[in-house]
Symmetry: none
């Protein structure tokens, strides 16, 4: 037996276990609190300390590495509680989550009311759902099971569960890409062009979810991105735009919780996607958003029918919530630019801004089209003249100046890192490149270390439609460790060709 600090109190101990986002508490099987409360493995336990409290999943320890008077806390539990070694934490049964009754009702086909979705989202944002419950909620929303009203209510609830930025401008521009296309790093270019035109574009971006790089990952190789709200506001007031990581400003926190389980399930329902994207935009204070939607057989959106219905839902939900949404469908058949991975994409961005001769045209042209549309919507260019205006801002060097100014305001512009190992993958025959598999290419980049290792990824040396000779480089793998390089190559060797080279007859 141990001396408890009080009935149902145990001494906090940091056991240093990373359970990702699900808080776990470790208690010894012989612990008096375990016994008196009837806790068993997987019990949900409320842990409180100085007015803060979390619900954690119990793992019961029979080994000797934990004492009976100790409450071992996983890393996320430790952080959320703000615990210190040895302080007394109070334990009780976690209250059942009443809002899960609404999820159950949805499973049985009932329509959810706004108030019910607010309760559900508040509990999700507060990390009070277990993984099993999160999975059930996501599944209940998949396959067109949320109607328009429910999707609007879900989006609004997600906005209201977090912080909300307000700007002193009548129009606030934003931009999003529904993803699935490696290297499509237009956002830094668009922000530079739009901000240079004088329109406000306070851009918050996410880190990669399933891709080799997110805009926040790429920008982090060039400048500081973890600005808090006050710093972000200063940058925007000074430069009309910013390029920061959204995670530091707590916009739509429920989204970050849901995304983790969505990734594990590998599902992505339209309703969830719309609520995820639009809640971030609305919380960031946007009034107008351009959505880039690449369509292609190996992109996230595979055909025009899927693109149409998603575009309609984005526009309709936006309209209900006072956000003007324009969707631009783009070609999603192959990667954009040359680099795939945080630093390699940053180099593409810099080369376009600096009007380098080697700059990838496709990336520049996409950015010009999207930025041009924003200029038209914002009244900085006449209808039909937006692309020309955007191209002019880019060619004149004003966008590059603005980009440098934004990076300086965020904490200084720096050089992206370079990888230590490089491996060139050549064509195994002469012919014409007819297909590039985006998904498997992204997988190789991730195995090489992206986005965790900023310098890692893929550099493309040839594009769709190009004629290549045998042995000509198709792409290079960049990696910082030999182990990761070997891992990417092993995967590559077990795949059909990622580039389909068809011999001419």
């Amino acid at each position: 037996m141990t001396t408890s600090v009080g009935a149902n109190d145990l001494r906090a101990r940091r056991v240093g276990v990373d359970t990702y986002q699900e808080p776990v508490i470790y208690m010894h099987a012989d612990c008096s609190v375990c016994r008196s409360e009837g806790f068993t493995a997987q019990s949900r336990v409320n842990v409180s300390l100085d007015g803060r409290s979390i619900d954690a999943t119990l793992n019961v320890v029979h080994g000797e590495w934990l004492q009976t008077g100790e409450a071992g806390l996983s890393e996320v539990a430790w952080r959320r509680l703000g615990a210190a070694e040895g302080v007394a934490v109070h334990l009780s049964h976690a209250a059942p989550r009443a809002s899960f009754g609404h999820v159950r009702a949805k499973l049985y086909g009932h329509e959810l009311q706004e108030r019910q979705l607010e309760d559900v989202v508040a509990d999700i944002a507060g990390n009070r759902y277990t993984d099993i419950q999160l999975s059930a909620f996501l599944t209940a929303c998949t396959g067109n099971r949320l109607d328009l009203d429910e999707t609007v209510a879900l989006t609004r609830a997600m906005v209201e569960a977090g912080q909300r930025l307000r700007w002193p401008y009548s129009m606030v521009m934003d931009k999003h890409c529904v993803g699935g296309l490696p290297g499509n790093r237009t956002t830094p270019l668009i922000v530079a062009i739009v901000a240079a035109s004088g329109l406000p574009i306070p851009k918050t971006s996410s880190r990669a979810i399933t891709s080799p790089a997110g805009t926040a990952d790429t920008m982090a190789t060039l400048t500081r991105v973890d600005l808090d709200m006050a710093d972000m506001r200063d940058v925007v007031e000074q430069e009309n735009g910013c390029l920061v990581w959204g995670g530091a400003v707590d916009l739509s926190p429920a989204d970050d919780v849901l995304i983790r389980v969505e990734r594990a399930l590998d599902i992505d329902s339209d309703a969830q996607l719309v609520a995820s994207v639009l809640s971030k935009k609305i919380a960031a204070g946007a009034t107008h958003a351009i959505i880039d939607m690449p369509v292609g057989p190996t992109a996230k959106i595979r055909d025009d029918g899927a693109a149409d219905s998603l575009a309609r839902l984005l526009t309709d939900v936006g309209e209900h919530l006072g956000l003007h949404v324009s969707v631009i469908v783009s070609d999603g058949k192959q990667p954009v630019g040359r680099g795939i991975g945080p630093a390699l994409e940053a180099r593409d961005v810099l080369s376009v801004l600096q009007d380098d001769q080697q700059a990838p045209d496709d990336l520049a042209n996409r950015a010009i089209e999207l930025a041009g549309r924003i200029l038209e919507i914002g009244g900085a260019a006449q209808e039909g003249c937006g692309s020309d205006a955007a191209a002019q801002i880019l060619a004149s060097g004003k966008a590059w100046q603005k980009f440098q100014a934004i990076c300086t305001a965020q904490g200084g512009l720096r050089e992206p890192p370079t990888a230590r190992h490089l491996h060139i993958v050549p064509a195994d025959r002469e012919g014409c490149i007819e297909v590039i598999d985006n998904r498997r290419l992204a997988r190789v980049a991730k195995l090489a270390g992206a986005p965790g290792v900023a310098a890692a990824g893929i550099e493309l040396h040839a594009r769709l439609g190009a004629r290549v000779s045998e042995g000509q480089p198709l792409f290079s793998i960049h990696s910082d460790s030999k182990g990761e390089l070997a891992y990417a190559l092993t995967y590559l060797n077990h795949q059909e060709s990622i580039f389909e080279v068809v011999e001419s007859e």
Copy 2:
């Protein structure tokens, strides 16, 4: 750095953590395998040893209680691998479960084929789905989303994923209650009556899913229930019947995996319910099954419409799979008998068998009706005379003799335990009891510790229609720990009255 036993090999270490059914592997953050394989927290890792292999969820350890060369294994991972301290285990990325693609297809509205359901069920029975995936599968089947063909296919797949009992009798009787009515513990009585009549009734029962007690929980307070197949067969050959826990004989093992997550979600879809019930019956070798279906506003089945559609599905699926199913709808407006909870229900069963003056009539009458129907179906009584025959077997003491004989054959009859704490809940006014809320009453019993704590639960002192005076006991809460008692009382104090007492004018 540590010396690895081989590339991607680590030394197994039992860290003594009970994570219930989900295997967890603990690896140090600085471990070479973690790094070279790119494993991060929550990665799914395949762990193999001597040809056995399991998929486990990774928790990354930053603390010093685990060394870099060690693979810490949770209790369930240790057991399933058959590991020994210090042996080398081999680690690799867990293969994605191809069958989960079928679950995803179902989420998007596709009908599942028999072969696909077989793949899903085989992976579930083999513990190869994560909790998140199990939750998604259950959710995908909820709300009438499986049609008749799919339900038949699911049931068959669940039968085939486990062992199957075969009996040398032309008719094998079985019985099930769809539940939701606390205290409705007729099964031990029915088995005793039917076996005493000479008809074979080899009964396997489950532990509680969402209720305060299952038949296996109740019987476990009276005798040994974890018999293996050979022992069970011996008991049945000798006594015509048995009352064992189904979990020890590996009938429909996927059901046991699913039930754990169903319990956490507190959902119970018609298709899953039918597949669960009938797969157990068919695997147990039954040819005829009686299903007791209590209907009431706070029972599991709330109205006649729901009862009809569930009864039809049970009968239809049974017919497709060669099992004759008879459904008997019963009154589900209030609990049955006096006790709610394993030991308290066992006492009710004993009092009926012993023809005690205090024995609850309602429990006896229900058992007589259901057993009577089985006697008629089995030809042990003429049509219309089953209840009289059953009542006669009970009154004569033959059922009590048979029950004792079965318990003796299973390992000996014992006395159910008694709780340490008792709290009486009195009527707060004079009047007539007009409504009893089964669900909330069951919840109080569970908060008091049932079914985990066998002695815990509720004892009823008054029934529907009774007149009570102010202060007269309505029910008592039995609990083995003060913490659990306090928890039940806290819940009770936050509820409307569970007994609705209406004052006379």
